[in-house]
Assembly symmetry: C2
Homo-oligomer: 463 residues x 2
């Protein structure tokens, strides 16, 4: 019988997260305040608990995963590594395609890998309530689940247009006891001001972040904090459990390791999760091609700039050194909501600048075409974000066939698409657009960066 699923025993779960900041050839640039000076941990204290701020700043290579966090994660982890034999046969490729199935968490995506530890560390620090924002809803559902498991209150500001158009994710959050509200809202000063100006605004991730941070920092009891689902170092750290598990499972499958590693990349957390342990191998001399795949509608790695920029539209966050399209950028309404963020995580961005990664962009039509091939050959319905990774996987598998080369391709199956079937319906009925960002829009959006501090690093230029 074919071995499709490669399981890892819970006792072989990774006991430490991997921190790429320890191995990056160039030291990371610090986040800056509006005054242009590096942010101190104290300045972040009203926003995040100190134990997570320590993780954010850490340059240690390995960071222990608390036993209680492992106990919580092992409700669904280790997740299987699977061999995509159906896709291989369809493509007649000599490549062996493996994917890490992150869709089997109850919230349906990899986001739980950081939601659980974030909720746990907050609880340890005496926090009683977490506030966050969510666009399409993947992160909001993951945090609602985590807070329910750990015993924290959870409030989620959901971008109004998604709140209205995607009621299913809101119901999921409510089932787990999360309080999901439409943003902009009457709960915050920022929300009220925006509603006063434009009562019919569709909202934006930038506005929702502003509302969530405002609510977190203005709780007089000091027991509320903010939680972010991507971009920051500690979030990417938590996600490395994906790649660390995959590494062990590839060994079990008898593979020497991947030749190609692929992940879709919005803020960077999923991509970092599958790839960072292999980026480390590449830094130490192993030959691996590592491909973050972004949406052509939001191409910060392939067409953006490495610069200091704000994480949100309202300029409430520190300045982060990252590949960005400018924090005022409004992406086209692609179904892959998780890829509609103007910036890329600093850790991923520095790896791009160093030449360790080979980013590429995929447009929405090509992504859905790949999702359909996947559904027909593997039977599974992938999330709109995940389809971008599948598109690159298909390209690489075809390349292997054309070159007549055996290859091991590994990608992260970051989530399922069962709550996003309308995009498939639009594809099937010919109503879907590709959306590639026009040059003039890109140029206009990048203008904002000219007023901000430059991000300069001395690259080794080795890769």
């Amino acid at each position: 019988m074919k071995e499709i699923n490669i399981h890892l025993s819970p006792k072989d779960m990774p006991r430490q997260w991997y921190n790429l900041a320890a191995d990056l050839p160039t030291p990371m640039l610090p986040p800056l305040g509006k005054d242009g000076k590096p942010i101190t941990p104290e300045k972040l204290a009203p926003v995040f608990p100190m134990n997570l701020i320590d993780q954010e700043m850490s340059r240690e290579r390995w960071i222990d995963i608390p036993e209680e966090v492992l106990d919580l994660l092992c409700h669904w982890r280790p997740v299987p590594l699977r061999r995509a034999t159906g896709l291989e046969a369809y493509l007649k490729t000599p490549a062996r395609i493996y994917y890490k199935d992150e869709s089997i968490s109850p919230a349906g995506s990899h986001k739980t890998n950081s939601a659980i530890p974030q909720a746990w560390y907050n609880k340890q620090f005496g926090i009683k309530r977490l506030v966050t924002e969510t666009g399409a809803g993947q992160w909001g559902t993951a945090l609602a689940l985590a807070c329910n498991m750990i015993g924290l209150e959870c409030k989620v500001y959901m971008v109004r247009v998604s709140f209205d158009q995607k009621p299913m994710r809101k119901i999921l959050m409510q089932i787990w006891g999360g309080h999901c509200v439409s943003s902009p809202s009457e709960y915050t000063h920022a929300g009220r001001e925006i509603l006063k100006k434009d009562p019919n605004t569709p909202g934006s991730l930038g506005i929702a972040i502003s509302e969530a941070i405002e609510e977190a920092v203005s709780d007089p009891s000091g027991t509320t904090r903010y939680a972010l689902g991507s971009v920051l170092n500690h979030v990417l750290l938590h996600q490395t459990i994906i790649g660390l598990e995959a590494k062990k499972q590839l060994e079990i499958a008898g593979e020497k390791g991947p030749d190609v590693v692929i992940g879709c990349a919005g803020g960077g957390s999923n991509f970092a999760g599958i790839s960072f342990p292999f980026v480390a191998d590449k830094i130490h001399g192993k030959k691996i091609e590592i491909i973050p795949v972004e949406s052509a509608s939001c191409p910060k790695m392939t067409r953006g700039e490495f610069a200091y920029d704000f994480g949100d539209t309202a300029e409430m966050t520190p300045l982060l050194p990252m590949n960005t399209l400018g924090h005022q950028f409004v992406p086209a309404p692609v179904h892959a909501g998780g890829l509609r963020y103007h910036g890329m995580a600093p850790l991923v961005s520095q790896a791009v600048v160093e030449g360790l990664l080979a980013p590429r962009a995929c447009d929405q039509l090509n992504a859905y075409k790949s999702a359909m091939i996947w559904a027909k050959t593997e039977g599974m319905i992938c999330a709109p974000e995940t389809s971008h990774a599948i598109a690159a996987t298909i390209d690489e598998a075809i390349k292997a066939r054309e070159e007549g080369k055996e290859k091991v391709i590994l990608f992260s199956y970051s989530g399922h698409g069962l709550l996003d079937l309308m995009g498939y319906d639009k594809y099937l009925t010919g109503q879907l657009e590709g959306y590639t960002l026009p040059d003039e829009e890109l140029k206009a959006s990048m203008e904002v960066l000219k007023k901000l501090p430059k991000a300069k690093i001395h690259k080794t230029g080795k890769w």
Copy 2:
């Protein structure tokens, strides 16, 4: 670390299905034609391929699972047996609760366990096209997936009210290349007649079955057949892989076996799947309580009669000996669409009559209350049907606590509820009704049975 997931290696997958017909204390009554005489295999030949008719009639205890079917099933099987530690802790029960997670197939339920072999046997027999009906859509999606994997065309008549209210399952079928149409339709004589009388009919499972059978038997090329997702012996046979896997996994977990086995029961396929291997143990002397849980809106086992009855409203099927509410019965519109069938599989029904099973009914409100407890304690969103099994599991776990008895409870987690979140929304907003069938409606519906042949068996009366 807690051992939550008990995995079975693909090489330890069951190689044979278990046929309860071989072990039932009383021989099974045959299906009858309208003339009151037992149906011959030849009469079924235009409807089903002969290899499946042979299975339907077989009294062999063990039937080999073809290697190719195993290869297809092992894309997601063996599915994990999981320990519900969160629920146990919440209930403070000494019971150890295990569940077989059938929700992880791409179609989201146990239905694929029979869809795959049915499609495979049809293909072997030279059939090119399968036609079926679906109510809520679980079976239709499973068959569309199976036909896509095996290379058959698939047409699904979906009850109009579901077709309109549940577009997501229709999209799923379309992704896998299935042709899903609203029933009644213009494709069949039966459909046209009904539309002529009442263009606004919401449709019914009975009508959809009539249309599907009509289309199957009237293909002049003879390469179209009909497929049914429950009730029949061969369907229940295929599902026994659930219980056979669970048995091996309980051994791995160090358990001597279950004291209680629970499954929700609509037509009987899920319940048979988890329970029949344990019903065999009970027949051979082991003490096990085995509980099929039906909807209080459709209580054929707890309040219906064991009688010969038609499988469909239009009287196109043979007469089957089964627990039934009368084939004209129209159940209340509960969300658990899979439990809205007037009859129970003959194999399950005979086991009920023999006293081997202890059926109970659960109303919709209690079912959703249990689903919410499950979501809060285990994190997972169950299907509306599955919530009935969870309700009984909670009752049994509380009983164990009150009696101070250690117990092993096993139930089938038959499917996820990610495509049925509207029922949860109604529960959360207080809009859900319980629906218990009123006596007078039950009585009126059973009238139709008086005109049909009686089903008499000599029971051993041993249990």
